[in-house]
Amino acid sequence: MLNPGVVGGSSNSDPFPAGLRVLVVDDDPTCLMILERMLRTCLYRVTKCNRAEIALTLLRKNKNGFDIVISDVHMPDMNGFKLLEHVGLEMDLPVISKLMSADDSKSVVLKGVTHGAVDYLIKPVRIEALKNIWQHVVRKKRNVSEHSGSVEETGGDRQQQQRDDDDDGGGDNNSSSGNNEGNLRRRKEEEQGDDKEDTSSLKKPRVVWSVELHQQFVAAVNHLGVDKAVPKKILEMMNVQGLTRENVASHLQKYRIYLKRLGGVSQHQGNMNHSFMTGQDPSYGPLNGFDLQGLATAGQLPAQSLAQLQEAGLGRSSSLIKPGITSVDQRSFFTFQNSKSRFGDGHGQMMMNGGSGNKQVNLLHGVPTGHMRLQQQQMAGMRVADPSMQQQQSMLSRRSLLDDAVVVRNSSRVLPGATHSVFNNSFPLASAPGMSVTDTKGGSSSATAAFCNPSYDILNSFPQQQHHNNNRVNEWDPPNMGMVFNSHQDNTASAAFSTSEAYSSSSTHKRKREAELVAEHGQNQQQPQSRSVNPMNQVYMNGGGSVRVKTETVTCPPQATTMFHEQYSNQEDLLSALLKQEGFPLLDSEFDFEGYSIDNIPV
């Protein structure tokens, strides 16, 4: 393990990890030289590259040779965004897009996020901005580790060099330093959530999707039908030893985003809308997708949060960053995206029966109105994301988005937002994880009530939320989004939390991490997922773009699923709830639950 080097003293009192292997891609030799020097000053190991194709070759040849990629998006030979996509699809690496602070920076940022960028840098790059890039790697690793069931491990895996350990789940060296809060949370959650951890405590080896493997995957998916392909079946068809359903699920999620991006987002969104509308309060449907958009466009803040939400919901927030999202996340992701269609088809079989084993399905069941709101937001966010992504201004600032999302969610449940806020500050690991999401148990009941009658006035809630997250709203923290997403999934199906369980099923994986959260929020733990959400965040990028959802495979405890079935007879409700959950977590990695009490939810 390399001892993290301390350069200039980080504000977190956690020295960022030295030895982080960075690949820098830029066609401008001057910028390349400067960046290299800066990164070296940060004690990172730098590899320079001036052509995107060369970069891709390098990455392919050394699958585990790099921890993070920084790539200019305006390159003559190959579209920088394409590189983002490829990296995201094929490798599980966080990519930071680098762009010039020019006229169209907003749209470029949005585009980058859509293609999977976890973050962005604006030229001229300052060394300060580079000091924090390690957080993305940690976050990703955490998500991966979490999936493997070792919560502790995911905690501060800052030692990037330990990439090899990723295969073990990369959680062994949790440098909690960086994520103090996260660690604390995790610990708490762990204690409470030990039982929730249904997944094996072994770290799951990180799967590298080689060309052949991917082809097998694609063949299986095509055989089953893109829309109908479920990880379980794909896994069976592929029949690859050592490949888990979660691996497939997360990859599928990414793949879907990728396809969507290729084929136009509309279809997906259409599905989403459809599912939303189906069997749900009609007010939802339009509210979800359209109103949010309206809201988003209406104000900068909302838009931003929407974008975040959207991103979170849809997929990767950052570019091709690796799809570390746990399967659970993926599921939620899928459900969010796909479930909609599924639901439309007849209630997301996926969700319900957990064919894909998604706990997410369950989530929907119990989705209280509060959740729906969130989901709607997400949806809206997603939709809006495209047009209003420009608002996403600072991916770096990670919070606002989540905060918004959280806020929304909070309405459904009372979540201790305090913890989240801490995270918001770019604690990639610790904070974001939906820790704050935990809703108090008490909330669940009330939440249920609130849910009964989902009166989505997202429009109303938005402004409210905005207020809450004034400072945060504007920050779309893609990584957070992922976390948010995960949190949903973490909701372990504990009977106690009817609603939360619904969500938890999908996010059981998160649960582990956020045991604490789970306990707290019966309703929707959108936040808990923060930890695992990170990867998800990246994934949830607006459906419009090639959002790759990197979801870590989160194993949702099967029990949760069943519980949901029992509890929620109404798939649609679940769906909506699920959607909401998924949508929100994605957006806010930092669940800033400002304490929306359920009472506030207009039911």
């Binding site: 030799p29 001057t30 910028c31 000053t41 003559p76």
Partner: protein, 124 residues
């Protein structure tokens, strides 16, 4: 950075100077050298494109985008300002504006080069 540099170079240049240390004592000069070499190439390309008279604004804008990027990386503020103007003319398709502004770009670029040469000589 002395008074003579004021206005020509911004904080970014100072950032670069911070990166210089005992291990890399000539970092800034190295970067500047690289910048001038690379930007000369870009200037050439733009010159040729303008001489052709075809005014492919997209292409011109692309070149200038790169040029602006590296100029901002070393903190060449005046050059950067001219670049922005050039791009704006490209955006609206004003050929004459482009030609005029480009002369300015070259002028600022040459001035900066001289200043930096003196600067580095002085610091040695």
């Amino acid at each position: 950075m002395g008074k003579c540099m004021q206005g020509f170079l911004d904080e970014q240049f100072m950032e670069l100077e911070e990166l210089q240390d005992d291990v890399n004592p000539n970092f800034v000069e190295e970067v500047a050298t690289l910048y001038f070499k690379d930007s000369a190439r870009l200037i050439n390309s733009i010159d040729q494109a303008l001489e052709r008279g075809s005014f492919d604004f997209n292409r011109l804008d692309n070149y200038m985008h790169q040029f602006k990027g590296s100029s901002s990386s070393i903190g060449a503020s005046k050059v950067k300002t001219e670049c922005t103007m050039f791009r704006e003319y490209c955006r609206v398709g004003n050929a004459e504006g482009c030609l005029r502004t480009f002369q300015q770009v070259k002028k600022e670029h040459a001035t900066l080069r001289k200043k930096l040469e003196h600067y580095f000589q002085a610091s040695q």
